[in-house]
Chain length 133, copies 2
């Protein structure tokens, strides 16, 4: 199982530690293609924007499932969900707080879950992968 994890990068790195924990948990279910998103000291200086975009799109295309944290507003996360949806990828979104974008929570082509704690999101992820059999 190839898993594409999507989380905010330039828009906000405040959740990088949490992403790292989510990614560590996702590894119980397969290979996480975007493991770098959990790196606290993510360096992208040696890659051009085109290289970053094209690499992420190659991973998105190769993935079997997309797991997105949609807590922090992010152009990149929204873009990846939009493109993944048109590619017919299974998508599961997770967010903390009162609400996320209506474009995410209002889309009936994938499921969006609310969570509060790391333990809670890990449990929700377990449910998702168990339901995928």
């Amino acid at each position: 199982m190839k898993i594409y994890f999507s989380g905010a990068i330039r828009g906000g790195r405040q959740d990088a530690q949490l992403y790292q924990e989510i990614i560590a948990h996702l590894k119980n279910y397969g290979e996480v293609l975007t493991e770098h998103i959990g790196q606290m000291d993510l360096q992208e200086d040696n890659l051009s924007d085109v290289q970053i975009h094209d690499q992420d799109m190659a991973w998105l295309t190769a993935s079997d499932v997309i797991i997105a944290d949609v807590t922090v507003p992010s152009l990149g996360v929204g873009y990846e969900i939009g493109r993944g949806l048109e590619m017919k990828k299974p998508i599961y979104c997770f967010y903390r707080g009162e609400k996320t974008s209506a474009m995410i929570s209002g889309c009936q082509d994938f499921k969006t879950f609310k969570y509060e704690t790391l333990e809670e999101v890990k449990g929700l992820i377990d449910g998702v992968f168990e339901s995928m059999g």
Copy 2:
């Protein structure tokens, strides 16, 4: 010409006044389907998230061109660009500041322009519509 203007809503309303000015300028070139995005007092309480999503997707599908302000991180704007791209819509993105998401500036399927002032973005928009001629 049907124009879909995309700007941040739940992620940030600080640019609503600017969006209003951009939308007013876009009206020189056609009908702006998403004129409400420039409303300072945008009320979405009487619509469900599903209604908001489905209405915006209907407008996106009906549009001839997508004009997006990608200054403020936004899941909705990223999602609309991702879906619009897969629908083969012409897309033009504009941002202020140092940089925008690599998923936007690194995508070679549409053009992204940097601007500083309202006058500058109006001039860039003029150039876009003149080139579409």
